[in-house]
Symmetry: C2
Subunit: 595 residues, 2 copies
């Protein structure tokens, strides 16, 4: 196979168009095979095979610099830049990450995982190049959906003023994760349909030269276009129309399903294994659709991640005008959500933990300083969420629980989650965020409060000496610690479900002082500035000892959850051991000392 001869872009330079087309097929076959075993960003990579081949044929990487936006579509680039073995051979599948990664190759310049930054990064590289008086080409490859993110515009708006050579390749596959949205999507379709000629061209309005490649799978056309812009002394957009999922019939037909594939049977396109019958996506979607049916003020808002709350195409249709997807534009989504609440609507915004950080300013300013009573659902906020460092769901508490006026809730089970959501949607007191427990769907028989306006912890088990405050998705871990600690030491610990990440339940904490010497906090997030840090600060000048259990902020790339738990001493055994050490020291070797 030709693919086996490609050890770097230099091996492409003398291939004929015919060879390159054969290579395209080989790459697609390789991608499909690997992803059928490991899963991955399927549809986007199948769509950029020819663009990537043409770029590496025309340009001279790594002298010329190609920057992939989000970089979930950089698999082909990895194959062509010395990393083919990690795609060809099963035993090497884990050698590369799913995103661009400077530690892997000199052809990658940044660890990228969030959208809409590539044009800015290209502007910065171009500026440094110019200061040094050098001349290489700098190319940003960006999908149409990533153009919706505000930073893309900021960079396009600035590029002309930068006044230098810069190439933006728009990979227009007419899709975001679900369908794409917004005026730009419509405009790109118009350009597609009208051979690149429209009355008001967005890119030209911002001073870019504009070139259309109508068929982004036509290697001749792509190479021709890239040759034309090579060495440009001004900013230029090459708009390439592609088919997301190209070459795998199932992916071409259902592009949303195949945006990120789980392992599947190649012949049928069926995923191995199912989704657990009980999962928070389906549960909350059903709950929200009922709310929507009963109240025309309720509206669900997302920024291209509707599936995180189970809003698949069918549910989106059911919600009708009471569902909004603004595209990958979290800042707009959060400000809109705030304003819907201020005008008397009942908005529920949802996205993954990691994407909330893209709109911190809007949450802090528009939502919280202005006290707009909207609801934000935070998903994937867990060590068991995404394991790529760029997508870690472990920072949200540090970010959001230190914002004034926000009520940030951490349900530990389904019943609490829905009760909190029900309360939040109808209340008009404050902005509310709810951190979905991502460790599985658990249930509880206890009576659940209906009102969450005042920070009140739930003392589930009353004990002494040690109190375990186990937050949200780590509540069950807390239960296990209590059991094991009793078994090993005879100490009956108190177990608390705090339910609130923001605020401090002083009465509960003060109440612990008389019969406890140690408070242990468990949280599924980084401990720096997180939930436990508030408890540590509260007791800091008292005699109470505090042990904060959570994750270190330096999250490794592609961690294995159980290993990362272990390194942070978060397995039940480890926690019990650490508690015993403190008790032992305090009581001079006797866990049950009553002095």
């Amino acid at each position: 196979m030709i693919i086996e001869t490609i050890n770097g872009p230099q091996n492409l330079k003398n291939l004929s168009i015919n060879d390159l087309n054969i290579l395209s097929s080989e790459i697609r076959e390789t991608l499909i095979k690997k992803m059928s075993k490991c899963g991955g960003h399927m549809a986007s990579n199948l769509g950029v095979v020819e663009i990537t081949l043409a770029l590496h044929t025309v340009f001279n990487s790594p002298i010329d610099k190609i920057i992939f936006d989000v970089s979930h579509q950089s698999y082909v680039h990895k194959i062509l830049t010395g990393r083919k073995d990690a795609f060809l051979y099963e035993e090497k599948y884990d050698d590369v990450s799913g995103y661009s990664n400077p530690e892997e190759s000199v052809h990658d310049f940044f660890n990228i995982g969030h959208t809409s930054t590539s044009i800015s990064l290209a502007c910065g590289m171009a500026k440094a190049r110019d200061l040094k008086g050098e001349k290489e080409n700098i190319i940003a490859v960006i999908g149409d959906a990533s153009l919706d993110g505000g930073e893309s515009f900021e960079a396009l708006n600035y590029a002309v003023e930068l006044g230098t050579g810069l190439i933006v390749v728009v990979n227009d596959n007419d899709m975001s994760i679900p369908e794409n949205h917004g005026a730009l999507n419509r405009l790109l379709n118009e350009l597609r349909d009208n051979n690149g000629v429209v009355e008001n061209n967005y890119f030209k309005s911002l001073g870019f030269e504009y070139i259309l490649v109508r068929d982004g799978h036509d290697l001749d056309a792509l190479i021709g276009a890239f040759e034309k812009v090579k060495g440009t002394n001004h900013p230029v957009v090459v708009h390439c129309c592609t088919q997301k999922g190209k070459g795998y019939i199932f992916a071409e037909k259902d592009r949303e399903k195949w945006h990120w594939a789980r392992p599947f049977l190649i012949e049928t396109g069926e995923y191995y294994g199912g989704v657990p019958a009980e999962n928070y996506g389906a549960i909350v979607a059903q709950f929200l659709l009922e709310k929507i049916n009963n109240d025309s003020d309720v509206v669900v808002v997302t920024a291209s991640t509707p599936l995180c709350i189970g809003f698949n195409a069918e549910n989106r249709k059911k919600a009708g005008k009471q569902f909004i997807d603004v595209g990958i534009a979290e800042q707009n989504a959060l400000s809109m959500t705030a304003a819907i609440a201020r005008r008397g609507g009942k908005p529920v915004f949802a996205t993954n933990s990691t994407f909330y950080q893209r709109a911190y300013d809007q949450i802090e300013q528009e939502m919280c300083i202005s006290k707009c009573p909207a609801t934000m659902i935070v998903t994937h906020a867990s060590v068991y969420g995404h394991t790529n460092d760029t997508h870690a769901g472990l920072y949200d508490m540090t970010l959001m629980a230190n914002i004034p006026n926000l009520i940030y809730l951490a349900p530990a089970n389904k019943e609490e989650y829905l009760a909190m959501l029900d309360w939040s949607i109808d209340q008009t007191l404050a902005p509310v965020a709810i951190r979905v427990p991502w460790t599985g769907v658990h249930h509880v028989q206890r009576e659940i409060p209906k009102d969450y306006s005042i920070t009140k912890y739930d003392t589930v088990v009353k004990g002494s000496k040690v109190a375990i405050i186990a937050l949200g998705g780590f509540f069950q871990l807390g239960e296990n610690v209590v059991k094991k600690l009793y078994k090993e030491t005879g100490v009956s610990a108190t177990l608390i479900n705090p339910r609130f990440i923001t605020g401090i339940d002083k009465s509960t904490l003060d109440g612990l002082k008389s019969e406890h010497i140690l408070v242990v906090t468990l949280e599924d997030g980084i401990i720096n500035g997180g939930f436990g840090s508030k408890i540590a600060q509260y007791y800091a000048a008292d005699d109470m000892k505090v042990l904060n259990k959570g994750f270190s902020m330096n999250i490794p790339n592609r961690y294995v959850p159980s290993e990362w738990m272990s390194e942070n001493r978060l397995h039940t055994d480890q926690i019990v051991e650490d508690i015993k050490n403190i008790l032992c020291k305090k009581y001079r070797g006797n866990y049950l000392n009553n002095s």
Copy 2:
């Protein structure tokens, strides 16, 4: 005067154009008089007198909703909506804030202080209106510079898909805080010069109807345009060209100086009182210009706030191509800064503490996960910075000191500041942020380290029992506490200048255990998730008592620094009192107990 008869927009409805013009003059006179006494956003408010008058003449506020972007230009709106007395009468000057404020008036809907959010907020209000089947007009008033912020684009891009009536009034005064930047600025000028007709109209490309009002001070034209778009069922932009500073000759001539005025003599335009001869703006500008002269890789980057590092027009000119202002577009600025560093440049970005939160994602992802060795200067990070809640400079440590790979430094004096900056610019290890001590320019005779790659605290005074860890701008407060504590109790406290906000100097902290019982941290920021919280967590399971001194996260609007210090028990006397209480409790009434 007519202005005295205006108790709300209803009083405008029957005024003739002649009366409205007289009222314009009265408003300008009122604004100039008030700002000459109190300072304020001078030039922007003088520029929007007629736009605001025309809006309130044509529309029916508060049923119709007018949302001012940034809202620093809402003084005229306040005068017209029942708050004139706060501008007319000196004893009432303090009755209103400088930004829109729902607590002041039903005509204000949000507490707004950061740019580029108004179109999103208008979209959200329009969505809620439509869900309720109501019909009011919703109007966003946005300056040309605020259009550069990505969120404005996100909202413009989404508005057409929202498919409903929405009015965006662009107040084009051709300025940001300094001169405006970017392609859009050029485009707006072209539209100005060509009677609204250009080949590729940005607003039309995004599906907006576009209307030009060539003279934004012509009340007839403005009222005509607003009447035309009133009741629109689709999104429309009304582009109004205005003169920033209109009606005050000095402000018309030097718009940057008059963006935010200090109190001044009306006749001459001279500010009362000068800037202190020694100030960090001038000091760092001189330092950076020298670096720029000696090294063509050094480049200073800002996002419309060059004055925070003393880069006035003269210094910007001196820096030439080694200075970049991207406009109010922090996300683009931070990603560019990261990429300049990755490509071998030596970028120094600078802005106010409060604006870093607009690019958290870029700092965390592009800058820090990718380990790009750039420098970020953080100014106004202090209780003595801006006192409006939307601009408080007290959150940055919670945000930034919990980001992996970042080195966040807190110099306590000029010598440390420049040594850190010097080191940071040339190092290639990590991204570095420097928090400028905003409590005044202090000096030190001690020898200052040249390398800041490893977290190492500086023990300035060795004592016992109590250790004061006094960070950055609060170091001098720490010195005062040590003195007063000795005087009142005879306790000679240890005094530490930690220099590092990130990381923990374990060796120093462990060393304190043997002869100290209390560690007090002082920080000029919120204590939630801040510097002190790391120290509290470090000692949480030990016997060491910790007292974190800093600010509560619920920062009041328009606080008075000394009062807010007092409420947080941060005056020297209060800190000493709190230390004495802890010592007393521990030693049963005897500060010097040696048991």
